[in-house]
């Protein structure tokens, strides 16, 4: 593996350096089909320019596939864009935009299991793409909200029609958003947090 000389590593810009008090991190996953606007949403609310972490599929296949000698043929690099929001001096929120295909989720340990929740970003022109994603989140018991990225030429469906087509229970929020706008993307995250809050049982 190539490794750039450590002198040439570009770390965070000085304004992006976290205070030493930043010790508590939480994460939210934004999941959706290709081209639905995941990276746009991450970028619009992130305080840093979105970064990319990657993993190679061969890692997951080690010991499973008989690929001795043909490793280079089976290596697929999967990238995931992410951003960051400093919520306070101590608490940092990371947002990961991940592809809808479940086989990629295993590349990063605990991507969903440790997340507070997920945002399923959908495009009404390609609604079926989100069926599988929603099903897999349900199976895993990951709480999620659905955000409809309002593309100008996309058909607009009433929320109840969408809820019916997506077969979502009444309590799961469905909201419109414009992933390009910070305020709109922030409101999606707030909707998710309020929903998670509503799932919490009051302490007795």
């Amino acid at each position: 593996m190539d490794f750039r000389s450590s002198d040439t590593i570009t770390g965070p810009r000085s304004e992006d350096v976290l205070p030493t008090t930043a010790t508590a991190a939480v994460k939210v996953v934004i999941v959706g089909g290709f081209g639905v606007g995941k990276t746009t949403m991450v970028g619009s609310v992130s305080e840093i320019r979105p970064l990319t972490t990657e993993e190679t599929m061969t890692q997951a296949g080690v010991g499973v596939d008989d690929n001795v000698g043909v490793e280079s043929k089976t290596a697929t690099t999967v990238a995931m864009d992410f951003g960051r929001i400093s919520l306070s001096e101590e608490l940092i929120l990371y947002l990961f935009g991940t592809p809808g295909q479940e086989r990629f989720w295993f590349l990063w340990n605990g991507l969903f299991e440790g997340a507070l929740g997920a945002v399923v970003l959908i495009d009404t022109r390609r609604l079926q793409v989100s069926f599988d994603v929603i099903g897999r989140l349900e199976e895993r018991g990951v709480p999620f909200v659905v955000a409809v990225n309002t593309f100008p030429d996309a058909p607009h469906h009433p929320v109840e029609a969408l809820r019916n087509a997506l077969d979502l229970p009444d309590e799961v929020p469905i909201i419109d958003c414009d992933a390009r706008l910070r305020a709109s993307s922030r409101d999606v995250l707030l909707t998710l947090m309020r929903y998670l809050h509503s799932l919490a049982v009051p302490l007795t």
Partner: protein, 122 residues
């Protein structure tokens, strides 16, 4: 809407069990530290000449807290490579790590309120 309709699925307890992930991903070497994408890492020492270049780069990057995902991004190294480098640095106490706050069976209301408060300031 006449479009196809999705059918709701039931939560599968086996899938929401984090331990199952370790089985699936193998954890074949049995030695890698349990590091999440958002485990925060802070250096405890300056790199010495005996430290390998990748690890020296990590020690320099993590003078201020940085997540594993950010280390992977800045070094352009795959997540799994970074976790194995970090495992060695943890073993030799050259770095300190802070595990993320994960979703619990019962969501923590005060945590969610802190997140909401932070988002509202954006």
């Amino acid at each position: 809407m006449s479009a196809p309709r999705r059918e709701r699925r039931k939560a599968d307890p086996a899938l929401s069990d984090p331990e199952r992930l370790y089985v699936i991903t193998g954890d074949t070497d049995g030695e890698r530290a349990a590091l999440d994408l958002v485990t925060m890492v802070v250096s405890q020492a300056e790199p010495s000449p005996t430290v390998q270049p990748e690890q020296a780069a990590i020690l320099r990057l993590c003078r201020a807290p940085l997540s594993v995902a950010e280390i992977s991004a800045y070094l352009s190294l795959p997540f799994s490579v970074v976790t194995s480098l970090l495992t060695e640095l943890l073993a030799t106490e050259l770095i300190e790590s802070r595990a993320p706050i994960v979703r619990a069976a019962l969501p923590d209301r005060s945590l969610l309120e802190a997140v909401m408060h932070g988002l509202q300031k954006l």
